[in-house]
């Protein structure tokens, strides 16, 4: 099992959720985050003083998936979140040791 964690542009969230649903993902966790990367920030102005916004708003999604589904999930996110502009985000995949569904006590891939 793996966790696929992706940082994406906020306005792409709905398209990504739809694409994940189409490849068989049944649940995901979403967090609003801020980040700093190659996109850098932008400047704003308040009462005559310019200032830099270094951290840009992004959305972090986390999906727990079985090993055989991992590649498809990564492809689905890449396809749905891409705008070809700088700042589209990144995807990280890491090992998942255990998963438990609290209501039933099922564990492993059955709990996903």
């Amino acid at each position: 099992m793996n966790i696929v964690m992706a940082i994406i542009k906020p306005f792409k969230l709905d398209e990504v959720r739809k694409a994940l649903g189409e490849v068989g993902v049944e649940g995901l966790t979403v967090t609003e985050v801020k980040g700093y990367g190659r996109q850098k920030g932008h400047t704003e102005i308040y009462r005559g003083t310019e200032y830099a916004i270094n951290f840009l708003p992004k959305v972090k999604i986390e999906v727990a998936v079985s090993t055989d589904l991992t590649e498809k999930v990564v492809e689905a996110i890449t396809g749905a979140a891409r705008t070809d502009q700088i700042g589209d985000g990144k995807i990280f995949v890491y090992d998942l040791k255990q998963a438990v569904r609290i209501r039933t006590g099922e564990s492993g891939a059955d709990a996903l």
């Binding site: 704003e44 308040y46 009462r47 005559g48 003083t49 200032y51």
Partner: protein, 431 residues
């Protein structure tokens, strides 16, 4: 239709004259008394609501961790001003100023004719007290915005009590109490200097003695913006102040009992509106040209600067001159706000450009349209109010600083005054 009404009125008028001449003679002065009093009461409650305008403007321009405190200070200062103006303020400003050489009145708690009694004079005594009291409160409101987000509650309240009970009434007596400046021919119709620049001088002195909010100016000379928590609230506050200004300037005609006075009050209304509109449009255009972005808070300040600019003489200017006088207020805002930051004077809401600098400009502009005023006397008045208010405020701020302390600790400031002193957060459901 109107002809018919006129006819009926003239007939009844003639009948009254014929049957009861004494009653008819009483009716005319009573009508003027009633309308003058109505002007004071309506002008007064409009200016009273400017307290709400200041509260909303300031609540919107401070950060969310200090919003409760700003609301508390505003309702507190309005109430303290209302009490102090009764305790000694009104009489210090208006009673027997001539007997004291034109420098101050005789301070005693003020009293009105008892219930049911008719009043002598051209208007009700209590309506005048009420109208003057709300002007006094407006002066204190100006101070609270500049020194927001770092001054402790109680020293601010004590300062307000002395400002509204002693400082403002003493300097106010020089002009509106019939004192030495009015003898000299100084002209300030509704208080560009007497109210606005006095509040501005007290605010400036406070800002310098108190120091900037921590983190506002970095060691390497950068200015760190601290954007306000709510632009809609700041906008609402500005509109409320604009509305209140019709009472502020219109009511200062002090009479509404005949055709000429009612016409002048109306003229003041339209000039006041034109000047505010001029202030907004000029500041918007300048922001676009200079900064390429039209910061809404500068447009809000532009409205208020336009209003303050026209306050010294809202009656005499032609419409075009009213727009120009207000528009220059808008210019002042766009250039004075960043200039204060260069001097590291931290004015949270822009009250110093709006009330002090535009107040001075408005007072200087009076002789342009009012031939009975002179530039020399206007400058004497501006300097007199400036020197007195700066010296008196500096002494009081310094005493407060050395005794109970005026500044919240660095930790309290970082935490926010809402948590540190009020115990109530303005927005508790956002964490």
């Amino acid at each position: 239709m109107s002809y018919k009404i006129k006819l009926i009125m003239s007939v009844t008028g003639a009948a009254m004259l014929a049957s009861t001449p004494a009653l008819a003679q009483d009716a005319a002065p009573d009508a003027a008394f009633v309308f003058n009093t109505l002007l004071f009461l309506m002008g007064g409650f409009l200016v009273m609501f400017m307290a709400a305008g200041f509260a909303m403007l300031e609540a919107g321009l401070v950060r969310s961790k200090n919003v409760s405190m700003q609301c508390l200070k505003n309702i507190g200062l309005y109430s303290v001003a209302g009490l102090m103006f009764w305790v000694c303020g009104y009489s210090l400003m208006y009673s027997g100023v001539g007997d004291n050489g034109g420098w101050f009145g005789t301070p005693v708690p003020y009293s009105w004719p008892e219930a049911g009694a008719t009043n002598e004079g051209d208007y009700s005594v209590a309506s005048d007290w009420f109208f003057q009291m709300v002007f006094c409160a407006a002066t204190a409101s100006i101070v609270s915005g500049t020194i927001a987000e770092r001054i402790k509650l109680w020293p601010f309240i004590i300062f307000t009590a002395i400002l509204t009970g002693i400082f403002y009434p003493i300097s106010g007596s020089w002009q509106w109490g019939g004192g030495w400046l009015s003898e000299m021919g100084f002209s300030d119709f509704a208080g560009s200097t007497i109210v606005h620049s006095v509040g501005g001088w007290a605010a400036l002195t406070g800002a310098i003695i108190l120091g900037a909010r921590s983190g506002k100016y970095t060691d390497d000379g950068r200015v760190v913006p601290m954007p306000g928590s709510s632009i809609p609230l700041a906008t609402l506050g500005t509109f409320i102040l604009w509305l209140g200004w019709f009472g502020f300037n219109g009511g200062s005609q002090l009479a509404f009992g005949d055709n000429a006075n009612a016409s002048d009050v109306s003229r003041i209304f339209v000039n006041t509106n034109l000047a505010a509109a001029g202030g907004v449009v000029v500041s918007m255009i300048l922001m676009q040209v200079v900064y390429k972005k039209v910061d809404v808070t500068m447009a809000l300040n532009g409205a208020l600067a336009g209003l303050v600019s026209i306050t010294a003489e809202p009656l005499a200017p032609t419409p075009l001159l009213a727009i120009i006088i207000g528009g220059i207020g808008g210019v002042i805002v766009v250039f004075a706000v960043p200039m204060l930051d260069k001097f590291k004077i931290d004015d949270v809401v822009g009250a110093i450009p709006v009330h002090l600098i535009a107040g001075i400009w408005g007072t200087l502009a009076v002789p342009i349209t009012n031939s009975s005023a002179s530039f020399g006397t206007q400058i004497v008045g501006i300097l007199a109010y400036g020197v007195f208010t700066v010296v008196a405020s500096a002494i009081l701020w310094t005493i407060l600083k050395m005794t109970i302390g005026i500044r919240a600790s660095e930790e309290e400031e970082a935490l926010g005054l809402d948590k540190a002193e009020v115990g109530v957060e303005a927005y508790p459901e956002f964490t």
